[in-house]
C-alpha cells in the first residue's frame, strides 16, 4: 500500500483492520434484537458492511477476513457464540463467504463517491450497502443453502427473504453511522499527510 505520509503508517492500517474485525465480532455476539417480527437479527452484517464503508475496499476486505479466520480458529465470534471450522461446513457457509466480498464492494462504491457525499449522503451509502449485501451475502448465502442443505433455489429464496426487512434496517443504521464516522475522521479514506492534533482522545 502506498502512502505519502510516514504518519498514517502500516501500523495504523493494521490497527484499524484489527479494530474493525473485533467490532464485527462484538456485533455478532451481542444478544440479538427482535425488531422485525419473529426473526431475531444480529448486528453481524451491519458490522461487515460498515467496515467496508468506513475502511474502503482493501482494508475492509482484510478486516472481515481476519474476523473469519479468528472465528475459524476457535474464538466464539460468530452469531450465537459459535466458532470453529464446523460453521464453514454448515449450511450458513455461503453467508460467511459473502461477507468479505460484500465489505469490499461496499468499500469500493463508497470510495468512488465525492468526499462530501461520503460525509453526508445517507441514501447513497445505504444503497451501496444494500447492493453489496444483495449481490454477495444473499446470493452466496442462498448458494450455500442449495449446496449444503440440499434445498432447491426456490426453497433457499424462501428462507433467505426472511432476513430482508432486518437487512434494510441494518443498512439504514450502517449509512447513518458511516457518514458520522467520516465526518469525525475526514481523512480515513482520502489520505493525505496530516500531523495529529494533541487533542485526539484515546478511548
Amino acid at each position: 500500500m502506498s502512502t505519502h505520509s510516514p504518519r498514517r503508517s502500516t501500523g495504523t492500517d493494521i490497527a484499524l483492520i484489527a479494530g474493525f474485525a473485533a467490532l464485527i465480532a462484538i456485533c455478532a455476539i451481542l444478544p440479538s434484537i427482535k425488531l422485525a417480527g419473529p426473526v431475531p437479527i444480529t448486528l453481524q452484517t451491519f458490522g461487515v458492511l460498515l467496515t467496508g464503508a468506513v475502511l474502503g475496499p482493501r482494508r475492509g476486505f482484510l478486516a472481515v477476513m481476519l474476523y473469519l479466520a479468528v472465528g475459524a480458529a476457535g474464538l466464539p465470534v460468530f452469531a450465537d457464540g459459535r466458532s470453529g471450522f464446523g460453521v464453514f461446513s454448515g449450511p450458513s457457509v455461503g453467508y460467511l463467504v459473502g461477507f468479505p466480498l460484500a465489505a469490499a464492494l461496499c468499500g469500493f462504491i463508497v470510495t468512488r463517491l465525492p468526499r462530501k457525499a461520503i460525509q453526508t449522503n445517507v441514501p447513497l451509502i445505504f444503497a451501496a450497502g444494500l447492493v453489496s449485501s444483495a449481490l454477495f451475502i444473499h446470493v452466496l448465502g442462498m448458494a450455500g443453502l442449495v449446496w449444503r442443505a440440499d434445498v432447491t433455489w426456490a426453497g433457499a429464496f424462501d428462507i433467505d427473504k426472511v432476513f430482508w426487512i432486518g437487512d434494510i434496517i441494518k443498512n439504514v443504521a450502517m449509512a447513518l453511522v458511516a457518514t458520522a464516522v467520516h465526518r469525525a475522521f475526514p481523512d480515513l479514506l482520502h489520505r493525505r499527510p496530516a500531523p495529529q492534533p494533541e487533542s485526539v482522545s484515546t478511548a
Binding site: 504518519r7 475526514p186 493525505r192 500531523p195 495529529q196 494533541e198 487533542s199 484515546t202 478511548a203
Partner: protein, 229 residues
C-alpha cells in the same frame, strides 16, 4: 546525555476548512537530563513532544536527535527515542503482558523462547512479577501504565518522551510512576499538568498558543504558568 535540536519548526494541521497552526516557528536545543513541557490544553506541547520521534512531522523546519534528522532517519531515531502515552490502553497492543513486552524485544531476540524469557525478566524488573500471562485488559490502571513503560524501556532507548503519563492515574499510582520516571538513567522529556512534577525537572518550557512563551528553570516556569492561569 543526548542532544535534541528543533530548528525553526512550524506544524500546521489541515482541517476541513483551513489549516490550523499548531506550532509556530519554534527553535529549541534540549540537552538537560530532565525537561518538562507545561501549558494549557491545546497549547501545542503534545505536538512538540510528538515531533521528537516522528509521530508528528514538521510542516517546515527540522528536528534533529543526536545528529539524526527525524524526517529522514525515522527508524534510527525511534530506536533512540522511547515514547510513553497518556492512555496505556492504547499503547498496549498485545493480549497478554508478557507478549506485549516481547513485541518490543523482537529485534533484540530473534529466538521466540529466549524472547519470552527476556520479557519475563523485564516484567520482574518493573515489579510486575507473576502478571505475565494476565490479560492486559484485566490489569489495573497503575499496572497498565507500568507495563506500558516497561515495554518502552525494554529496548533501552537513550531518551524517553512521556506525554502526560500520570494524568489518568490515582494519587498513589501517579507517585509510583513519577518516582520510576525520575529514577531513570535516560534523558526525560515530560509533558505534564502536574506542576509539582514539572518543578522537579532541570528545565521547563511553558507552551501557549503554539509558542514557547517561557523557557528556563523549572520553578520559574511553574510560577509564570500559575500567574498566567
Amino acid at each position: 546525555m543526548s542532544t535534541i535540536e528543533i530548528e525553526e519548526v512550524t506544524v500546521r494541521l489541515p482541517t476541513a476548512d483551513e489549516d490550523l497552526l499548531v506550532l509556530d516557528r519554534t527553535s529549541l536545543r534540549l540537552t538537560e537530563r530532565r525537561v518538562a513541557l507545561i501549558g494549557p490544553n491545546g497549547s501545542g506541547k503534545s505536538t512538540l513532544a510528538r515531533l521528537l520521534n516522528g509521530l508528528v512531522t514538521a510542516t517546515t523546519g527540522r528536528v534533529v536527535v543526536d545528529g539524526l534528522d527525524v524526517a529522514k532517519q525515522g527508524r534510527e531515531v525511534r530506536r533512540r527515542v522511547g515514547f510513553a502515552f497518556t492512555d496505556p490502553a492504547a499503547q498496549l497492543v498485545m493480549p497478554t503482558a508478557v507478549e506485549d513486552v516481547a513485541l518490543s524485544l523482537r529485534r533484540l531476540h530473534k529466538d521466540k523462547r529466549e524472547r519470552q524469557r527476556a520479557a519475563l525478566a523485564v516484567l520482574d524488573a518493573y515489579g510486575l512479577t507473576g502478571l505475565g500471562d494476565r490479560s492486559v485488559h484485566s490489569l489495573s490502571g497503575g499496572q497498565r501504565q507500568l507495563l506500558a513503560l516497561a515495554g518502552v524501556l525494554a529496548t533501552d532507548p537513550s531518551i524517553l518522551v512521556a506525554d502526560e503519563p500520570t494524568t489518568l492515574l490515582d494519587l498513589g499510582n501517579s507517585r509510583r510512576i513519577a518516582d520510576l520516571l525520575f529514577s531513570l538513567e535516560q534523558q526525560l522529556v515530560l509533558v505534564t499538568h502536574d506542576l509539582d512534577l514539572a518543578a522537579r525537572c532541570d528545565r521547563a518550557l511553558l507552551v501557549h498558543d503554539g509558542r514557547v512563551v517561557f523557557d528556563g528553570p523549572a520553578d520559574e516556569a511553574v510560577a509564570t504558568y500559575r500567574a498566567m492561569a
